[in-house]
């Protein structure tokens, strides 16, 4: 439209910089939350335990997106594809090859890492809205690919696959749901700590320098292409592990569980939790699991509208998500101590 062939634009980075120290919770707070997570299942019903497990699994997936977007500044609407890949890898290994469920997770992670890394290569040339479209295409294609006829022998086609739910090992006297809860908790914890350390490492600093200013980063000697694809791979790998866990916990995989809606939900979880704030991922995951249910209970016919209004309320009150709430709380505590 404009006659000028080239316009010079100074543009603020799409994802704002998060101070490194503000990426985590304090040790004390973390320990209290961990203790609460360890104890709660004893007192609540199995269904609630299952929902808490799902919150952790979605939390892992949101965290993976957070590493990609909050860490390296790349945007993805295709996380559901990697989630599906992980879920199917786990399910197929368990059902067709009788692999132990715990062993399927690292394989699911590796397969998804590879897929993400390979996808990240051509996606390198794209950024912003174009990258969003490319990843979106991946998310749209995935359920169709899983339905393909010649894969039906393994994937079960449209019907999907039913997986055996594992029992607690060594004859531990706890139910399946509770066992899977603790199993997921351990993995979520490991991934959470690993991710925090990743972002604090040399690679993490490279991610963040790319997020804040790509040209400056490459001037400082950061291999931009390498780290961008790496971020894609790591994010996809972690999402794959979350997908594998979901296959084990839900005991069922089907192509239509992994549509673009899942990717959008994960994205919303990241925004609600606070982009770039890793603990927020789990808050965001709780939001995307519980708020649709709350909306449904308020009004059946208008559940979508209620959900939308609740979402608007959240982003109006705290545009930076749960991170903002945590920061405020921290400030208030600090003020109290001073007085």
């Amino acid at each position: 439209m404009s006659a000028a062939a080239e316009d010079t634009v100074t543009e603020a980075p799409a994802v704002e910089a998060v101070p490194k120290r503000a990426m985590t919770l304090g040790t004390g707070t973390s320990l209290v939350i961990l203790a609460a997570l360890l104890v709660t299942p004893v007192f609540v019903k199995n269904f609630v335990v299952f929902q808490m497990t799902m919150v952790m699994i979605y939390g892992i997936a949101v965290l993976a997106l957070n590493i990609l977007t909050g860490g390296s500044g790349q945007f993805s609407l295709g996380q559901s594809a990697f989630y599906a890949l992980g879920a199917y890898t786990s399910a197929v290994l368990m059902e067709n090859f009788n692999v132990n469920y715990a062993l399927t997770l690292p394989i699911a992670g590796l397969v998804s890492f590879g897929a993400g890394y390979l996808f990240g290569k051509p996606a390198l040339r794209l950024s912003g809205i174009y990258l969003a479209l490319a990843t979106f295409a991946l998310a749209v294609a995935m359920p169709q690919l899983l339905k393909l006829h010649f894969l039906e022998h393994w994937t079960g086609g449209v019907q999907g696959l039913t997986v055996m739910k594992p029992d607690a090992p060594f004859g531990l006297p706890i139910g399946q749901d509770k066992w899977l809860y603790y199993f997921t908790l351990v993995i979520a914890l490991a991934i959470y700590i690993g991710s925090i350390n990743l972002l604090r490492s040399r690679s993490g600093r490279a991610f963040m320098s790319i997020r804040d200013n790509e040209i400056a980063a490459s001037a400082m000697g950061v291999d931009v292409a390498q780290y961008k694809t790496l971020a894609f791979g790591v994010s996809a790998g972690i999402t794959g592990i979350a997908g594998g866990l979901s296959a084990i916990v839900v005991a069922f995989v089907a192509p239509d569980s992994y549509t673009i809606n899942l990717a959008i939900a994960l994205f919303l979880g990241m925004v609600v939790g606070g982009v770039g704030w890793l603990p927020g991922s789990f808050v965001g995951a709780a939001f995307i699991i519980f708020v649709p249910n709350i909306a449904e209970s308020i009004s059946k016919g208008l559940s979508g509208a209620v959900f939308g209004v609740l979402l608007f309320l959240v982003i109006f009150l705290v545009p930076h998500g749960a991170r903002q709430v945590a920061m405020l709380a921290q400030q208030m505590l600090g003020n109290l101590r001073k007085n």
Binding site: V15, P122, L133, V140, G304, A305, G308, V309, L311, F312
Partner: protein, 292 residues
Amino acid sequence: MELFTNQVLAGIATGAIYACMALAVVMIYQAIDHLNFAQGEMAMFSTFISWQLMQWGVPYWWSFILTLAISFAGGILIERLLFKPLAKAPVLTNVAGFIALFAIVNSVAGLIWDFTIKQYPTPFGSAPFLGSQLISTHQAGMIGVTLLMLVGLYLFFQFTRIGLAMRAAAALPESARLVGVNTSWMIALGWGMASAIGAVAGILIAPVVFLEPNMMGGVLVYGFAAAVLGGLSSPLGAVIGGFLVGVFENLAGTYIPGVGNELKLPIALALIITVLVFKPAGLFGRAIVKRV
């Protein structure tokens, strides 16, 4: 050869739908620099409004004009009420806002007009166009209206003061403010125009895909894809992108074995991404050079 010509013609016919939507997408992208995910739902709602007006006995063209006016006002209202307060919030928060708007509009439309499929009249008739079975007069009319809108938009942006002001506000907001452009209202105006163009798209599409709250789901994806393919900064590119996507989708469905209806969309998207890898700003978009 006849099969090929027929498929191309059919592709152009569906491409017109995508072109329409892509035009609305580019319009709002020009004004606010984001892709509005709720655009399709807003268009659907506008179409329902015009349908309701006709149910109440308003003649077609009156309801058409009224709907455009209502949509224009509605678009501005949404911007003022919901997105102006978010202007300072991070970009991704804005995107979440679009998703929330999507959910609200879809759900409210479902409640008011329920999810049954409704017939929608066409002013162009549905006889074969110039003796071709593949393009009906409605589809020809649709292509005509899309091209008219394109010319209108071009004239508006190129030759009116307000069009120039909108372009300035979108390209360099700070500088635009310095020379006295009210950028905040330019954004609202962009929302209004995008909403009205969306309404035209919805009204033209409805006779083909029928009227129901989810009618825009698929169309919007193609509209986005077409807009991105053509280059988000170029309305002409968006329209050409729309026709290209329509034609390619049809040809892929016909000539590549194993591509049924279900793989059409992934294949079309894959092609677009391939194009983007080689031309990252789209076919007709201008490359933006960033200052360090």
